[in-house]
């Protein structure tokens, strides 16, 4: 399987109204996604996962770093070339209520990607729209209606239809089921899985919901305060979490069968991206932090078993003499 996406040392800093004060939303992130797989990015509020998604799609301009998509370096493209590249990478947003233009008919919404990129003619576009709406499980008569006439789950299907109509290679889904009820959630997750197989899609699935991530991802990256703290195959991460934050995160999720065992309750609040702690950003809340954690930032490296990449001094002790 080839590498569809390669992100290298991506960072994003936001300027604040106070002169000179910047917020580092994403710090030096590198990752690769193989074609046909799903990368799950999981983390809590303020970890930067949504920002990362938007950086990859170039909805935000990165402060540093490069993105290679399908062999093309996105930074080197002109505005026009970038727009044409967008045909291959699409996004499904979190809020199905606000990601649809309330004044557009569903048919127009779904046909828009075809209009923008001048695909086919009106007749062929109409046909494609009809095929796509049926594919996502809605009826043809939905095409003449407006977004507000549909429920959350149905609107999300419309968003998915809009995202797949150009047959993209990569879809970034930013919390696509978080606003939906559990019973609707499973419908949408199944739809996404089917489409992945049919259209040979690659997904980047962003969520704070570990159960959903577990279900749909092949690889998982755990983010904390703008950095990836652990990355591994899905099964490996959930069965054998390495980083203390990952462990706490997994234990915090309420389980139906109560099999989570004793809960690891983290002290303190979610950290503020404005005040990133020194050294390892997790050290103030880490139950097993040692002295070096507050001064030296750990790097994301494979652990001794080679299965997971972890950024933790306890897992990957720094070499003698320091870096």
């Amino acid at each position: 399987m080839s590498k569809l996406l390669k992100v290298e040392n991506i960072s994003k800093e936001f300027q604040t109204k106070n002169k000179g004060v910047t917020v580092k939303a994403v710090s030096d992130i590198s990752l690769e996604v193989k074609a046909g797989t799903t990368l799950g990015i999981v983390g809590e509020s303020g970890c930067g996962k949504s920002t990362l998604g938007r950086l990859i799609l170039k909805l935000l301009k990165a402060s540093a770093g490069t993105i290679s998509f399908d062999g093309v370096e996105l930074e080197k493209l002109s505005e026009k070339e970038l727009r044409s590249q967008r045909m291959k990478m699409q996004m499904v947003f979190q809020d199905p209520f606000s990601s649809l233009n309330p004044r557009q008919k569903i048919a127009d919404i779904i046909r828009e990607p075809l209009d923008i990129h001048k695909v086919g003619n009106m007749a062929s576009r109409k046909k494609l729209v009809e095929e796509t709406i049926l594919r996502v499980g809605l009826s043809l008569e939905a095409l003449e209606r407006y977004p507000h006439e549909f429920s959350g789950g149905q609107r999300q299907r419309i968003c998915i239809a809009r995202a797949i109509i150009l047959k993209p290679k990569l879809i970034i889904a930013d919390e696509p089921v978080s606003a939906l009820d559990v019973s609707i959630q499973s419908q949408i997750l199944n739809l996404l899985s089917e489409l992945k197989r049919e259209l040979n899609l690659t997904y980047i699935f962003i969520s704070h919901n570990l159960s959903v991530i577990r279900h749909i991802s092949d690889q998982v990256a755990v983010m904390y305060l703008g950095e990836i703290v652990e990355m591994a195959d899905s099964e490996v991460l959930f069965k054998n979490p390495q980083h203390p934050y990952t462990k706490a995160l997994l234990s915090a999720v309420p389980q139906i069968d109560g099999s989570a065992g004793a809960k690891q309750i983290l002290q303190g609040d979610l950290p503020n991206p404005f005040h990133i702690p020194s050294g390892c950003s997790f050290h103030p809340r880490c139950p097993v932090a040692i002295e070096i954690c507050s001064s030296l930032k750990p790097a994301l490296m494979p652990n001794s078993a080679g299965e997971s990449k972890v950024s933790c001094h306890l897992i990957n002790p720094p070499k003698a003499g320091g870096k």
């Binding site: 727009r83 979190q94 606000s98 990607p113």
Partner: protein
């Protein structure tokens, strides 16, 4: 659209406004049909033996003015003048204001700041003073008066459109359009502008009231529409000396202005409530 009409029908005041507006427009368009006499025709029996205007009578329903012309006919034709100016002025103001606000709100950055500072500057000028100055510079005709009013009124619209455009630009469906590869022009045209339609519509109706009032003020001050073309403002202007002896000459055109402004205001208010349920809270 249908839903909007249904909701509007329920609002009695707005419907009253709509009916009145329609009536006034109808009368203005078919002035030739409705007006009993030619508005510039001076009647011999339109003045008393002393040369004073005649009060409301069977022949001259609203009386006559200082030159013996039928007031009713002049008011009816005046409707035409006031409305034409109102519509042109408002239309131009909306055009300029929307363009400025839209570009400033969407482009933001330096362009946006420059445009909005310019707008602020324009807003700082007292509208009336500006109108008087402009009217004094350019020889007044119907069109000039309309343009002068437009130049004064566009600022408010620009500000409102500016803030709304910023708010709309932040909404997720605009981000979605960008991610689909839409050009900025397409986004403005297909995604942002349609959301502004309710605001523009409301300002269009409310704006007519203010533009008509402004026109009346300018005409009253003598720098608006020049006689003999009747406009409600200049009727009052011409006849102001007869205020005490022939009060109907001031009263009736004044009532006409009041009625037009009120009707458009009621209609505009109703439209705003109906088109923007988040503001007032749906029941």
């Amino acid at each position: 659209m249908k839903e909007t009409w249904k909701k509007l029908r329920k609002k009695k005041l707005a419907m009253f406004g709509l009916v009145m507006v329609s009536l006034i427009v109808l009368v203005a368009i078919f002035a030739d049909f409705f007006a009993p006499y030619d508005p510039s025709e001076q009647f011999f029996d339109g003045l008393t033996l002393q040369g004073a205007p005649v009060g409301p009578s069977e022949k001259y329903l609203l009386g006559t003015d200082l030159l013996g012309r039928d007031l009713l006919s002049r008011i009816i034709y005046g409707a035409r003048t006031s409305l034409i100016i109102g519509i042109i002025a408002n239309g131009v103001a909306i055009l300029i204001g929307t363009t400025v606000g839209l570009i400033a709100g969407f482009a933001r950055g330096k362009t946006g700041t420059v445009l909005m500072r310019f707008t602020d500057l324009m807003m700082a000028f007292p509208a009336l003073l500006l109108a008087i100055t402009l009217a004094a510079i350019f020889a007044p005709s119907l069109l000039i008066v309309a343009l002068v009013i437009a130049l004064v009124n566009w600022v408010q619209i620009a500000r409102v459109i500016y803030t709304q455009t910023i708010a709309i630009s932040e909404r997720e469906f605009v981000e979605a359009a960008i991610s689909l590869g839409a050009t900025p022009v397409r986004i403005l045209r297909k995604h942002i502008l349609p959301q502004l339609v309710p605001t523009i519509l409301v300002w269009a109706t409310l704006g007519i009231a203010t533009t008509v009032l402004l026109e009346a003020t300018l005409s009253y001050l003598g720098i608006g529409v020049r006689p003999p073309t009747p406009s409600w403002g200049n009727i009052i202007f011409e006849n102001q000396n007869y205020f005490q002896s022939a009060p109907w000459l001031v009263f009736f055109p004044g009532m006409a202005i009041l009625l037009l402004a009120l009707s458009f205001n009621l209609l505009g208010d109703g439209l705003r409530d109906v088109l923007d349920p988040t503001q007032r809270g749906k029941r």
